[in-house]
Amino acid sequence: MTREDTLTAVRRSLDAATRWRWWEMVLGALAIASWWLVGEHALLANEIAILALFAVSLDLVLGYAGIVSLGHAAFFGLGAYTAALFAKLVTPDPLVGLAAAIAAAAVLGSVSSVLILRGSDLARLMVTLGVALVLYELANKLDWLTGGADGLQGVVMGPLLGRFDFDLYGRTAYGYSLVVLVVCVLIARCVVQSPFGVSLKALRDNRLRAMSIGLSVPWRLAAAYTFAAALAGAAGALLAQTSGFASLDVLDFHRSADVLLVLVIGGTGYLYGGIFGAIAFRLLHDLVSAWTPQYWTFWLGLFLVVLMLIGRDRLVRPWAWWSRS
């Protein structure tokens, strides 16, 4: 190839990496259309959107930066409690509460990112788990603030943008969550295609090589973790604001384990896994729970065991079966 041809090919390839894929546009159209289509299932759709945002935030930590975290619920829960308390004590405006929750979660993420910079997988697992447990205990003990085991009840939100009231049917709620989800995914998409985003994948691929081209690994890990924490906090805030209360459940180990599974079902490392996983997980959950309401965790456990034994790459991304990876 001549120098000119190469340059053109380079430009074309670099641009191609950031192009909107057809299925992304379909997904976007479906998402927007869904607000009109959900009808009486708006509350369910709302929960799926929140779970999807939570899972996408974990993807940034797990799929891009390569950190196995068993305590991502810490940021989710902090966001939820912050939003609930903000509505009760400062102002019931949802967007301001959302911003506060994001800020709080980002601060926690930034502070705790120091802990995940070194160590083996087990040490990082323990530390992330530990942070979530510490927060759980804190929320439990500070019951004058958080309502303890009973949770924070009666969180009444003001109208969204001053005009849209949160109604019982959940349409405003779903619209709100959907918009936040879409905005966050767009931002995340921009980030993962940027030099910063690619450097995350690089340092996960070969940390030594990343250092050897001049990339600061600790800074990147901390930045990614903080960003992911902020998004998780947003998801938690959405839950508190749209359901009207926050309880210890938002910090529970089950939350961290479930979101991990959601992401694994949907696939890690391509940003949309959280969305597909959330849909699949919720549908699975409702199906199985309708059949055996008390022992859903048994079937969930069986599903996990089988899935891990046969290999999780076999499950996801059907279109990957046709293209050679």
């Binding site: 797990l62 196995v68 530990g130 942070v131 048994f298 456990g301």
Partner: protein
């Protein structure tokens, strides 16, 4: 205060016996097995059921708890765990969480979710009240039994052929198999004994720690703390970590009940961020 110390040591020894299997399998197979607590739970239920349904005396249930959970461990290792050794840690974590969910739900279904009460034999109830310290008979029994087990484990590890094979395999599985050591057999035996010990610990601990279907998840964090803080290259590391954890937990819950387990978690986070390989472990070679 000495009574608290005594109780803390008993708690720590119990945690050690419960967690030692996990420490060895993690060091040996680099496998993060969050389901270890399920074996402990199984041992506890074996004891409870043998005593309440079949009237077996308490002391006799202990070997049964060990053997039955060991057999379960052997079966699971051979069938389910072995294919997972080469998978990434995330898969292992999710796999073992799945096993825990299954075990907890199954126990809930079969036996019910209420706390199980262990009726201790009369000669183990009560305490010796000395001037400065109250020594609970059962806790004394636990300390003695666990100490004997620890000594036996250390002896096996350092004096027997199996022990040196195990240490070689932990150090470097590839070189070990190159030397003719059947590493798979070492894994199987180690996992079996480790699970059995967990079962025994669960049986012993049912009276002290409580027993219900949520046991594995509740105590998983404690076992993991023992292993991650104690390191996986020695037996004394987890032992010291377990004792530290036991004493810290008992003292913490007594003096600062408001903070409870909070102290333990913060302590763990501090220790692991300062020394990710644990207080007593070597830096990871893998």
């Amino acid at each position: 205060m000495l009574t608290l110390l005594f109780d803390g040591i008993a708690y720590g020894m119990l945690l050690f016996v419960l967690a030692v299997g996990l420490a060895v399998t993690l060091g040996l197979m680099n496998f993060i097995n969050l389901a270890h607590g399920a074996f402990a739970m199984a041992g506890g239920y074996v004891t409870v059921l043998l005593m309440s349904r079949f009237g077996v005396p308490f002391l006799a249930t202990l070997p049964a708890a060990f053997v039955l959970t060991a057999l379960a461990g052997a079966l699971l290792e051979r069938t389910l765990y072995r294919p997972m050794y080469t998978k990434p840690h995330l898969d292992q974590v999710l796999f073992s969480i799945g096993l825990v969910f299954m075990a907890s739900a199954a126990v809930d279904y079969l036996v019910g979710s209420q706390q199980q009460i262990v009726q201790l034999p009369a000669y183990l109830e009560g305490r010796f009240d000395l001037q400065v310290v109250g020594i609970g008979k059962y806790r004394l029994f636990i300390i003695v039994l666990c100490a004997l087990l620890t000594v036996a484990l250390q002896a096996v590890l350092s004096r027997t052929r199996f022990g040196s094979r195990l240490r070689a395999s932990v150090d470097d599985p590839r070189v070990a198999s190159g030397l003719g050591i059947n590493v798979n057999r070492v894994f199987l035996l180690t996992f079996t004994v480790g699970s059995g010990l967990a079962g025994l610990g669960g049986a012993l601990g049912a009276e002290v720690l409580g027993l219900d279907p949520s046991f594995p998840l509740k105590f998983m964090i404690y076992f993991l703390i023992v292993v991650s803080v104690g390191g996986t290259t020695t037996i004394t590391g987890p032992l010291l970590a377990a004792l530290l954890l036991g004493v810290a937990d008992v003292f913490g819950k007594y003096y600062v009940p408001k903070l409870g387990a909070f102290i333990v978690y913060v302590l763990m986070i501090v220790i692991l961020s300062w020394r990710p390989q644990g207080l007593f472990g070597r830096a990871a070679t893998r």
